[in-house]
């Protein structure tokens, strides 16, 4: 198993407060990895640091290259893409412009292909392509954020709480799309509070509590774990499968 993203013994602090303590993680090619945990466990912090938004201490490599010193833009160029929790869309620009900017770093011909791919994944975006991003519904904004991230043809897509604040039917839609992505060769690192949905599509998973991984392994095993079932899946041990 060749690791695409490799993080080992990483510490991340906000001033004097250490939010992530000694965490190690790997995402292989063509794999969906989920990080689940309660609010404030440090999941988003870890993702933001992996993107270069926050500084981290420790080792981080992408495709065997040390990226600890690289800027956000350089990590994008290597093929890492983040869909942040707040989505960070260009609210006063239309859907098409948002997507076009997602392909800012790749050649024009490749961008045309990306458009086709993204519109095939999210037909709704094609219908709304002239609408301003800020006027879209929450679900559509999430689709646009993912679409924009995919426009640059990343090798690793990192998703921060894609289900946050969305109706269940749209959440199911989004997760189906994430599962489809793997088939097209994109690895996914998924941070989710919605553990049930995340564990269903992930190959492996990590459970994060208070800045540390307390459990890791194949998603099915994690889902079957009694403690996880009680704390994150919302049912008692006899209900766990």
């Amino acid at each position: 198993m060749s690791a695409l993203l490799e993080i080992s013994d990483v510490h991340i602090s906000y001033g004097k407060v250490e939010a992530v303590r000694g965490v190690s993680l790997a995402v292989a090619d063509n794999e969906i990895v989920a990080i689940i945990g309660a609010n404030g466990a440090g999941k988003s912090t870890l993702l933001n640091a992996a993107m270069g938004i926050l500084p981290l201490k420790g080792h981080i490599a992408f495709a065997s290259e040390n990226i600890a010193r690289l800027q956000i833009e350089d990590r994008v160029a290597l093929g890492i893409s983040l869909v942040p929790e707040r989505r960070e869309l260009f609210a006063t620009m239309n859907v098409e412009d948002n997507l076009q900017l997602g392909a800012f770093r790749i050649p024009r011909a490749a961008a045309a292909q990306s458009f086709e791919r993204v519109y095939a994944l999210f037909p709704r975006l094609k219908e709304r392509r002239k609408q301003l991003a800020g006027t879209l519904s929450g679900g559509e904004q999430q689709m646009l954020a993912m679409g924009r991230a995919l426009m640059g043809a990343p090798r690793l897509l990192m998703l921060d709480e894609p289900s946050l604040g969305l109706a269940p039917i749209i959440v199911a839609d989004i997760f189906r799309t994430i599962a489809e992505l793997r088939a097209s060769g994109v690895s996914v690192l998924l941070v989710e509070q919605n553990a049930q949905a995340a564990l269903k599509i992930a190959g492996r998973a990590y459970v994060m509590e208070l800045g540390e991984f307390v459990l890791s392994g194949p998603a099915a095993e994690i889902a079957a774990n009694d403690r996880v079932a009680a704390s994150y899946l919302g049912f008692q041990s006899e209900g766990a499968t």
Binding site: M51, I53, R69, Q71, I72, E73, V76, A77, S81, L82, P84, E88, L89, F90, A91, T92, M93, D97, Q100, L101, G102, F104, R105, R148, A149, M151, G152
Partner: protein
């Protein structure tokens, strides 16, 4: 007052207002993209105007050497920041941009400058010089501070203004200069006389506004600049470098400033420190536009120009006072209308 005087004043006001509009638009652009309130905009005006005026007398202005010196410092700074990972092509790019480019400007200026040099060549040389200075100014003063607050950037901006103004005194002396007009043609419509120069002011202003509109609306780079203005983190996440956006914003602002200077230096005598006052009037227009709205800024600039024209006719001693007083009701209105905003913490 009779109608003729009123028409004259309005014409005068619109000519000045067009220049303020250009400067105001540049200020809004730079602020939106980099959060820098560009006080040295006025120096771009004087540097452009006076370099052009000097070139027209056949002398090489000191600004070309300033460009080269700033480029050299920028190159050293690039080497220093990249010292941990010295890639050959990165150094090459920095070398070409920071040393070869200004050296070429110096060489071209010495080769071409003379009393018989065509006006168009002088304009291009002056524009290139100011553009280079602006590019390195961004690299030296603002790029290292890109993550700081608006206030820090403003302080740096005031510092740059003072430094450049002092250098202006060194390069151009305390005497005022005038440049030759782009066109000496003139015609009259009724009682109004239109000079070729004022027509050039209108034409260039309109051309710039259309060009900016096309740039931001249709080109990928223009959209990237807008994206940086709308959402800095979002822009970085798709790989748009804040540095690149900042450089382009400064380049555009400096070219707009220098063009404005070149347009007015045949009409009024400019001194090394005149630019500040002119830039400040563009700033008033930009403030009325809330530092965000391009159309409002352009309209406000025309109002500023007209108020200036009328007040210099009726109360010329209080001309500047009246113009700058315009800003007070606007600020009161805006502070009442807008909820308190916390500065974004990136």
């Amino acid at each position: 007052m009779n109608t003729t005087i009123m028409l004259f004043l309005i014409q005068d006001g619109i000519t000045n207002g067009a220049i303020y509009a250009l400067l105001g638009l540049a200020l809004v652009l730079v602020f939106a993209v980099t959060r820098v309130i560009l006080i040295p905009q006025g120096e771009f005006v004087t540097f452009g105007a006076l370099s052009y005026a000097m070139l027209c007398t056949g002398t090489v202005p000191g600004t070309v050497w300033l460009a080269l010196a700033m480029g050299a410092v920028a190159f050293v700074l690039d080497l220093f920041t990249a010292r941990r990972a010295l890639h050959l092509n990165r150094i090459g790019r920095s070398f070409a941009l920071n040393l070869v480019f200004p050296a070429a400007i110096v060489a071209a200026t010495y080769l071409l400058a003379g009393p018989k040099t065509p006006i168009a060549v002088n304009i291009v040389l002056a524009l290139l010089t100011v553009a280079a200075i602006a590019l390195y100014l961004y690299r030296l003063a603002f790029q290292p501070l890109a993550h700081t607050s608006v206030l820090v950037l403003l302080i740096a901006s005031v510092g740059c203004h003072l430094a450049l103004q002092g250098l202006g005194l060194v390069f151009f002396g305390a005497e005022g200069l005038r440049g030759p007009p782009i066109s000496t043609a003139a015609f009259t419509v009724g009682t109004l006389r239109f000079t070729g120069q004022s027509i050039a002011v209108y034409a260039v202003t309109i051309a710039f506004i259309i060009a900016l509109w096309l740039f931001f609306g249709t080109t990928l780079m223009g959209k990237a600049l807008r994206a940086t203005a709308v959402n800095r983190l979002g822009a970085r996440l798709v790989g748009i470098r804040t540095t690149l956006s900042g450089q382009i914003a400064f380049l555009l602002a400096s070219v707009i400033g220098a063009i404005s200077g070149i347009l007015i230096v045949p009409i009024t005598t400019l001194y090394y420190d005149t630019g500040f006052l002119i830039g400040l009037k563009g700033f008033i227009a930009a403030i009325i536009g809330g530092l965000v709205s391009y159309p409002l800024t352009a309209v406000a600039a025309l109002v500023v120009g007209c108020v200036e024209a009328f007040s210099s006719f009726y109360a010329s001693n209080f001309k500047e006072v009246i113009v700058f007083t315009l800003i007070i009701p606007v600020l009161v209105l805006r502070s009442l209308a807008a909820p308190a905003v916390e500065e974004e913490g990136d």
